[in-house]
Amino acid sequence: MTTAPAPASAPARLELVWEEPRGALGWLTTVDHKRIGLLFFFTSLAFFAAGGVEALLVRTQLAGPNAHVLGPERFDQLMTMHGTTMIFLFVVPMGLGAFGNYLVPLMVGARDLAFPRLNALSYWIYLASGLFVYMGLFIGQAPDQGWFSYVPLAQREFSPTYGVDFYALGLIFAGMSTTATAINLVTTIFKLRAPGMSLNRMPLFCYAQLAGAGSALILLPPLTLDLVLLELQRKAGFHFFDVAGGGSPLLWQHLFWLFGHPEVYLIVLPAFGITTSIIPTFARRKMIAAPLVALSELLVAFIGFGVWAHHMFTVGIPNSALAFFAAATLMVVIPSTIQIYAWLFTVNLGRPQFKVPLLFVGAFIVFFVIGGLSGIMFAAVPFDQAVTDTYFVVAHFHFVIFGAAVFPILGGIFYWFPKVTGRMYHEGWAQAAFWLTFVGTALTFFPMHIVGLLGMPRRVYTYSGGLGWDAYNLAETIGAFVLTAGLVLMAANLWWSRRHGPLAGPNPFGAPSLEWATSSPPPPYNFAVIPRVASEYPLWEPAEGGVLPEGHETLESTVRDAYLSEVVELPHESGWPPVVAALLAVMFGLALTSHFVAAGVFAGLAGLAALAWLWKEPELE
C-alpha cells in the first residue's frame, strides 16, 4: 500500500521509543497489547489443558457403568472445575484477552489499546484469579457444587468446605479482569481508529469484539452481585437465599442466568468475528450483506439479555412467562441465521481455498447449526421441560461452546500464526489435526443427544447398567481421546513450525485487513505510518496518505467518521499492575478465610498502589 513518504530513520527512532526491557522483567512490566495478548493466549491455553484433563477424567469415569475411577467427591470437584475453568478461565480470556487484545489495535490502525496499563492489570488479575480458584483444587477443597452453584446446595449447611468460597471470590476477582479488558476494547474501537476508518469501514471482527465487550460490561454486575450475596450469606449469616430467613433460592437463579445467558453470547461472538475475518480472505471476495452481518452481531448480544429464564423453565414460573422467554429465545435465531447464510453465500460466490483456517470455519458452521437447532428445540417449552438437565442439553451446549466457539479459535490460531510468529505452519499436518479434531468432537458430543433422550441425567458420577446408556458413553469417551489427539497434533505442528516453518512475510494469505499491512511479527509500535483508510478492505482497496506520530503516541479519531482529532500519549511499561493484582489476591485470600479486617487493609493497599500508578505520569520522550 502507498503512504506518505516516511523518513528512513523513522522506524529506528520509533523502535527506541517503544522497545520494552528484554527477559522476565520485560514481560512482568509490559504494557504492549501484543505481549499482553500473548500472555492471555498462553495462560488461557494452560487453563484449556487443565479443563481438558478434567474432562478426560470425567469421561474415563463415565466410560462404563458403575466405574470406580473416581468417587463422587472427586467427580463433583472435577466436573465443577471443568465447567468453571472452560467458561471463565479459558474461552472468554482467549476471545477477548488474547484475540481481542492482540488484533483489535492492529485492525483499527492503532499503536496500542486505549489504556495499556489497565490492559496489563487485566492480565495479572486474570492470572491471579485463575490461580486463586485452582488453589482450592490443590488443597483438596475445590468447588464441587456445579458451575452454576445453585442454592441451597451452595450454602454453608450443604457445602461446608472452602470450595464454594474459592469459586465465588475467585469469580468476583476474575470479573475485574474481564471488565477492564472490555472497557479497553470498547474505548479503542470507538476512539482510536485510523483516520478514514469510519464505523461502516470497521472490520466485522471489531464489531463482534464490540458486541462481546459491550455485553461483558452489562452481564458481569448481576454475577458479581449474586456472588457477593452468596458470600455474605456464607460468611456473615445473611438470608438472601433461604426461605426461613425471608429469602428465595430463585433469587440466585435469576441473577445467575441474567449473567449466564448473555455470557454464552459473549463466548461465541469473538468466534463470529474470527469467522468473518477468515471467510473473505479465503473466499477471496468481500462478505456479502456486511452491514446486515454487523447488525446481526450486535443484535445477538442485545436480544441475548432478554432470554435468561429459558434456563429456568422447570422452576414453576407461570405459562405466560414461559411463553415470553420462549418467544425471545426464538428471536435470537434470526440474526444467527442471517450470519450463517452470509457466510455460506460469500463462500459460494467466491473462489474459496480450503486451507486449514477455512476448514475450521466450515466445521464451525456445521457444529453451530446443529447446536443451534437443538437450541431451537429447547424453545419448545414442554420439550425443554422434558430433556433439560439430561445429556441432551450437555450435547447442545458443547456443540455451541466447543463446536461453535472453540473451532473458530483453532482456525484463528492457524490463520494469525504467521502474523504473530513470522513463520508459516505446516498445512498438511494441520489438515490432519483438523480432521482428527473434527471427528473426535462429533464422536464425543453427538451421542450425548441420544443418551439424554434415553434419560441419562447430567452431573452424575456414575450410572447403572441395563439402562441402555453404556455404549453411547463408551463412544463419547473414545471420542474425547480422539479429540485430544487432534489438539495435541495441532500443538505439535505449531510448536515445530515456530522454529522450522518457512518465513511468512507480512501477508501470506492476501488478506484485506490492516494487521496484514505491517511486518510479521509486528514491530512494537505496530505501524510507523498510521495508514489512511478509505474502504472496509484496506489492503484490497488502499488509499493514499497517512500520519506518522513520532513518539510513544497513537491517533485518536471521532467516533462515527474517524476524522483525526488528536495525538494521544501512551504510557510506558510499569510494575504497578502486577503489584496491584498481587495485593488484591491477598485481599481475596484473607476474605476467604474470614479475616475481614486484614482483607480491608489489603484492599486499601491495593487502592494506594493504584493511586501510585496513576500519580506517575507517562514519560515524554
Partner: protein, 300 residues
C-alpha cells in the same frame, strides 16, 4: 421419553420427532451449501450473482425462520404447553405429595395415613396431581415416560399431571444436581389397575404389626433414630419410612433390588453403595443384621 405411556408424553414425543425431522432437513441444507462451495471452488460467482445470494439469505435466513419458528411457537408454547401443564387439583382424582431429600424421595398420600419412599403407586387411567416439594436442596422430579419434569424447590410447591394410559412400571430419577449421591436418587412409578391401587393404598395405611428379635434390634440400634415404622416407637423422619419396606421392589433410591441379601449388604455398609449418603455404616454384627433383615422382610 421416546416411549410415551401417557397422552401428555405422547404430545411431547410427537413434538420432538417433528422438530427433529425439520432440523434434519435444516442441517442437510447447510451441509449441502458447504459442499457446494467446495465443489464449485474453482468457479467464481453463483447463478444470479450477489443479488441472488442476498435474496436467498433473506429468504432462508429471515423469512423461513420467522414462518417456521412462529408455527413452532404456537404449537409447542401454546397448545402442548397447556396440555402438559400442572393440572387443576379438582380435575385430578388423586393427589400425591413427593418431597425430595438428599438422596431419596418421600411419598405421601394426603387424606390418608400412607407414607412410603422411592416407589410411587398411582391408578392407571386416572389423572393424578403430583405435588412436589423439597426438604433440603433443589431436586427435580421426572418420570420420562409420563410427562415433563418439575423442580422441587424449598419454600415452593410445583405440580405435575401424571396420567398413565396403561398399567406399568416407569423409572424416574432426580434431575437437578443435589450433591454427592445425585446419581443414585432413583425412583419407580408403578401404575396399577385402579382396584389394585386402592388395595395397595389401604395396605400402606396400616400400621406394622410384625414382631421378633429383629424388631427389638431395630429399636435398640441407631436404626430407629432415623427411620419410622408406624405401629412401633420408631417415629423419626430423617430417613425413609420403613413401615411397608418389604412391599417395595427396590431399596436405596432404586439402586438395589429389594432382596434379603441385598438388604443385608446395604445395612452392613451403606457407604459402600452410596458413599456420602446420610446412612452411616454402623458396624453391626452379621447375626444382628440378619435378624433385622428378617424382621424388615415381614413389613409388607
Amino acid at each position: 421419553m421416546l416411549h410415551p405411556a401417557s397422552p401428555q408424553q405422547h404430545d411431547i414425543a410427537t413434538l420432538f420427532w417433528v422438530m427433529t425431522g425439520v432440523a434434519g432437513f435444516g442441517i442437510a441444507l447447510i451441509v449441502f451449501l458447504l459442499w457446494l462451495g467446495w465443489a464449485r471452488r474453482k468457479r467464481e460467482g453463483m447463478p444470479g450473482g450477489e443479488r441472488a445470494g442476498i435474496g436467498l439469505l433473506l429468504l432462508l435466513g429471515v423469512v423461513a425462520p420467522i414462518v417456521s419458528l412462529s408455527a413452532l411457537f404456537v404449537w409447542s408454547d401454546v397448545f402442548v404447553l397447556r396440555a402438559t401443564s400442572a393440572p387443576k387439583p379438582s380435575s385430578a382424582s388423586l393427589t400425591v405429595e413427593v418431597i425430595g431429600h438428599q438422596w431419596w424421595w418421600e411419598v405421601r398420600y394426603p387424606g390418608t395415613r400412607a407414607v412410603t419412599a422411592n416407589e410411587i403407586h398411582i391408578p392407571a387411567g386416572e389423572r393424578v396431581n403430583v405435588v412436589g416439594r423439597s426438604a433440603d436442596v433443589i431436586h427435580s422430579f421426572w418420570v420420562p415416560a409420563l410427562n415433563r419434569k418439575i423442580d422441587l424447590i424449598p419454600g415452593r410447591t410445583n405440580r405435575i399431571l401424571l396420567d398413565a394410559a396403561r398399567p406399568g412400571r416407569y423409572r424416574g430419577q432426580c434431575y437437578e444436581f443435589c450433591g454427592l449421591q445425585h446419581a443414585h436418587m432413583g425412583l419407580w412409578l408403578v401404575a396399577d389397575p385402579p382396584a389394585r391401587f386402592r388395595a395397595w393404598l389401604a395396605d400402606q395405611e396400616r400400621d406394622a404389626t410384625a414382631s421378633g428379635e429383629g424388631r427389638d434390634a431395630f429399636l435398640a440400634e441407631a436404626c430407629s433414630s432415623c427411620h419410622q415404622i408406624r405401629g412401633t416407637p420408631a417415629q423419626a423422619d430423617v430417613g425413609p419410612d420403613l413401615t411397608h419396606v418389604a412391599s417395595r421392589r427396590t431399596i436405596a433410591g432404586a439402586l438395589l433390588p429389594n432382596t434379603p441379601s441385598e438388604l443385608a449388604a446395604w445395612i452392613t455398609d451403606p457407604q459402600h453403595f452410596k458413599p456420602g449418603n446420610r446412612m452411616p455404616t454402623l458396624g453391626l454384627p452379621g447375626s444382628e443384621i440378619r435378624s433385622i433383615v428378617a424382621y424388615l422382610e415381614k413389613l409388607r
